[in-house]
Subunit: 261 residues, 2 copies
Amino acid sequence: MRSVKTALQVLEAVSRLQPVGLSELTRAMGLPKTTVYRSLTTLAEAGWLETDGTQWLVSARAFVVGSTVGDRGGLRTCALPVMNALAAEVRETIHLMIPDGREVVLIERIDSPHAVRAVAPLGARAPLHASSNGKSMLAYLPEGKAADYLRSDIEAVTAHTTTDPDRLRAELDTIRARGYAVNVEELQDGVVAVAAAIRPGGGLPVGSLSISGPKVRMPSKIHAEYGEKVRQAAEKIAAKLPAAVWQAPRYTSASGAAPGV
Amino acid sequence: MRSVKTALQVLEAVSRLQPVGLSELTRAMGLPKTTVYRSLTTLAEAGWLETDGTQWLVSARAFVVGSTVGDRGGLRTCALPVMNALAAEVRETIHLMIPDGREVVLIERIDSPHAVRAVAPLGARAPLHASSNGKSMLAYLPEGKAADYLRSDIEAVTAHTTTDPDRLRAELDTIRARGYAVNVEELQDGVVAVAAAIRPGGGLPVGSLSISGPKVRMPSKIHAEYGEKVRQAAEKIAAKLPAAVWQAPRYTSASGAAPGV
DNA sequence: CCGTGTGGTCCGTAATACGGATCGATGTGC
DNA sequence: GCACATCGATCCGTATTACGGACCACACGG
């Protein structure tokens, strides 16, 4: 269904560029104007886009559908109380993320009460190798998947990002050994985080939890303490999850968009 | 583009029923199994759905696209500081909602610090006439749109919901006169709220702000005080919004998709 | 061993999406 | 005020594509 894929691409493009007009969109996407226009009008008829006549915006419908993802399988519901408790304890920002292909996506957040804090909007993304959340899940990916990832293009985000596959592999071993991942300015300068994967039944990760804050409040000597706290919190969430939904591997289709299209 | 519309309907159905299998989905949608299956596989290839082989889930991609809606035109960014200030002042739950056809959708929330509080998840919906947020926007809809709505099916949600068009019309006059809307148990028993529309340049509402809490903490004698506070907060947000995006009417397309599913 | 459920596949036909060409409106520079 | 670029929008013949009933493989229960 080619038309569906192009329409979804248009939808994503609008979400990135909104508010956006037809011409700018066609230029950005490199598709015939007619094709884009047809997709736009169809998406609007379906209620996923709104327009004032020239500019296009993603409508609330997308928000409603998207917001159901966060609590898929009860993840957010199970995680929120634990996140609140952890936030009260360490007084830093707590992030709940889920994997999406080669990236992790932020689906819930409890902000640090401090004035100085790292802020990331819900829906924010990061590469698996450049975030504590990503690394914590990368360490427990099914056989081969992690190897595939390490073999692919690993790009640096900051000057501190680890891009060498061998060093990353060694780090993943460490993560598995101690149960949490650390990120020191690898994603954003001045920001440090520790994270642990949420693995129901000790199986594949369905998400991860992190504590993050400015480097000054997250010195290396505190990593072990916070790491242990976040690991226990992640385990508590995993134990609360209704196991049924989370049995089978789920890393198949997400990255699949590449070949099929 | 029929296939696009059916695929989007499948996507919405999955978001409501997830985790869900093929057969259950076809029964729920009343479409041929083949059609649903083709949509499912296409959506998965495009990265909008994930499957473990039998059960289907909405993937993180939908979340990412949906999360861009909340800050459309900078609304959330402009609103959050104001919402925080208001929450600190009144110590009740603050909701930011946007219109979507015949409903309003919750896109941001600051929870009351009280133990007893009304909780609604992001993405929650309510009819225009049965929520303070909805009524505050209904009062400022473009000429004819509000009349159309009042002429349509107005359904009661609770025993306190106003369904008589004449009484609603009168209430909208009051809302315009004093600048805020009040909802006493019309959407949920025991919950009271006051709301004001966010109208950049005094034009059409792009969203609304509300204070809501249990009836015991929101007696009628406090409505005027809270109403005035929420009105001022909404005005402050409207003043901060970059006007450019919010010029033209935007209530055209959204209602179109309703009958389909 | 058959009935009923599940997910998944085939394939001829009819419907439909494609996209280059074209148009009217708007706006900008000279 | 003319020429020109650019905008959104529409047309329409062709080739592609989606449709969906029929069918298949498998699993479970009596």
